[in-house]
Symmetry: C2
Subunit: 393 residues, 2 copies
């Protein structure tokens, strides 16, 4: 068998992540590796913490990147905060709520799952009713921005309900961080995890997390050891902790940290509020174009994520065929539906560096070309100017 270097094909990433990674970040990623205990690397870790605190709008000292993808960040929150027998309410409105339930059960916790239709926001009333029916609940968990449906939930209200009923909150912010408003301290979120490959536009593989002082106390006072050695925050704190001598825990993914630092620098330079605003403006432009073409959003406008646009696949159109042609003929990746929405929706990401005018224009043009070619019932020749009108306003 013969092998050769892998040269990635040209792609424009407008799926549910990874998003387009800016050259600055790729360049940082490829800088020479140094040791994970090098004093200069320790300085970098400190700076990453400060920049992450800014991106998450928190002063939590326990804010750091987990050395593994968002799924591990989710698991880090659950294995540290849930003990065997603990009751956890999960508000599910898409794929990732289901994964939360798996996590709770694998920790020996008892999951009480509240269902909302996929594409809807989490209903705060249902949460309040469930909290009243289960006064022994320890933790409430939900997804802020459901990557599988494009729906945004009211994190502030849900966290407040949890707190009022004496529960800690775990919030999935994988797709929201840096793309839409997220205020960890102001909203008093107890545990939050995210991913690098969405609105931070960094390479995939790392999961930023943050824990409030209340959460940190819960972790320190656990009766049972955390079931994961790799994700035990009591141990990870020893390596990522401020001030004190760093204790070796695992070998940090050094180059991924270079990239994350550069990604966080970019967020800092643009300013969080400006980034949120850009995501919103570009979403409205894409939306205008798609709707002019005759394509319908599946989430109602009040709960639509600007960074993840879930739209119904037009009647009679072959999902996989269109995505294959977009990729093959237009270098464009958009996302398929997941779970219940497989074959019914496309997920068009406008995350981080992918949220740019060029991408919107290209996506509208490519979609229109392929859909017209397969005979889909769309209005041709109006999408781009509809989008342009929004951006010019």
């Amino acid at each position: 068998m013969s092998f050769s270097a892998f040269l990635p094909p040209r792609r424009i990433l407008m799926g549910p992540g990874p998003s387009d990674v800016p050259p600055r970040i790729l360049e940082a990623l490829g800088r020479p590796t140094i040791g994970h205990l090098d004093p200069r690397f320790v300085d970098l870790m400190d700076e990453i913490k400060v920049l992450l605190q800014y991106a998450m709008q928190t002063e939590n000292p326990l804010t750091m990147p987990i050395s593994a993808p968002g799924s591990a960040g989710m698991e880090a929150c659950f294995v540290n905060l849930v003990e065997p027998g603990d009751k956890v309410i999960i508000c599910q409105n898409g794929v990732f709520g289901g994964r939360m339930q798996e996590n709770v059960e694998r920790c020996g916790g008892a999951a009480v799952v509240i269902q909302d239709p996929w594409g809807n926001a989490v209903d705060p009333q249902k949460l309040e009713d469930t909290l009243k029916a289960h006064p022994d609940t320890k933790v409430v968990a939900f997804v802020h921005a459901e990557t599988s449906t494009g729906a945004s939930s009211d994190a502030k209200t849900l966290v407040e309900l949890a707190r009022r009923h004496g529960c800690l909150s775990i919030v999935d912010a994988v797709t929201s961080l840096a793309g839409s408003p997220l205020k960890v301290d102001e909203w008093e979120i107890d545990a939050i995890y995210s991913g690098t490959q969405k609105c931070l536009s960094c390479v995939p593989g790392i999961s930023p997390v943050s824990f409030s002082e209340r959460a940190q106390q819960r972790i320190s006072n656990r009766k049972h050891k955390v079931q994961s050695w790799f994700l035990d925050m009591n141990l990870i704190m020893g390596y990522w902790g401020q001030g004190a001598r760093r204790a070796y825990h695992h070998t940090a993914p050094v180059n991924a940290m270079y990239a994350l630092h550069e990604a966080l620098l970019i967020v800092h330079e643009e300013g969080l509020e400006n980034a949120w605003e850009r995501h919103q403006r570009n979403h409205l432009a894409l939306k205008a174009g798609l709707e002019a073409m005759g394509i319908r959003f599946i989430v109602d406008s009040a709960h639509r994520l600007p960074q993840l646009n879930a739209v119904a696949i037009p009647e009679g159109v072959d999902d996989a065929d269109v995505r294959r042609r977009l990729l093959g003929e237009h270098h464009l990746e958009i996302g398929a539906g997941l779970g219940d929405l497989a074959g019914k929706v496309w997920r068009i990401g406008l995350m981080g560096h992918s949220s740019r005018i060029e991408n919107i224009n290209h996506c509208l043009q490519a979609l229109e070309t392929v859909l017209a070619d397969v005979g889909a019932p769309i209005n041709p020749g109006v999408a781009l100017s509809a989008a342009q009108k929004i951006l010019a306003a």
Copy 2:
């Protein structure tokens, strides 16, 4: 607060990992990100599997990189193969055996720990005696190449003992893979994990693993769900499995996979046997130089790892001060002692791309300069020629 791009300092990495990463791998790492479900990425995954099978000398279909560091690879082996109540014998002769015990206990298993002195190989006789005393043992685990001491154990014999007593074997090959002989199929190892940042000379953050058919059956027939969702091989198989349609599990660290592919290509180009031989030859050269200088190895010659040279810190020498000067004045990183060996030994890595003549010469020269300057009892002016003599032979 103001921030700027992180430009890593110049370093020569001769510690216990990460090792020097060749420019080819850094260049591959920084190539444009594509989607983790892109058909071209799926092809890359297939090629990585084949190249990993070569590097591990196995035809196990369940051979793949875990998307997290070696510690997570270790945890993947334990959480998948150990069920609550299972008895596991751990042969400990350094730091990482202790971590194995933590893993077993956090899985609800019962760990029986056999101790050998740090710096010694694992004693097969002790394992045999313990297997006889504990006939209900399900798994035997040990470290092939102890990164904390530089000692190599006889994996073939230990695995054979385990098998003869009806146990599965878990082998830590973090430091051995591609640096010294390792033959997964010939030795009939059941579960093995490694790291990318040692003798593969890839960036840190990924852990290659492989499971035998027997291990795979054990995983498929578990009575309890694997406690980690992220590391559940039943789920990971769905994404990394051959042939069948790939099911989304987590977002793969795409760019790290580019780098791993390139690192495995380099191993394939050089040839495994040649790589083993190079590590051995360069070790002998470094050893000749160090011993000529008057520095003593802590592991007896029969069990010395060529890729990790643990030496006694000369009498009266300040460990941290010397390492700080090597780093600051000579750009050279060597490793400190861990655990019981902290302050007593240095660990000098000759792993992968770091195992080069230039590095040996630089290390000997830098050590001699600093040690002479702090008044250590060494023989000056003889180390480099002693090393050269070996290489010229």
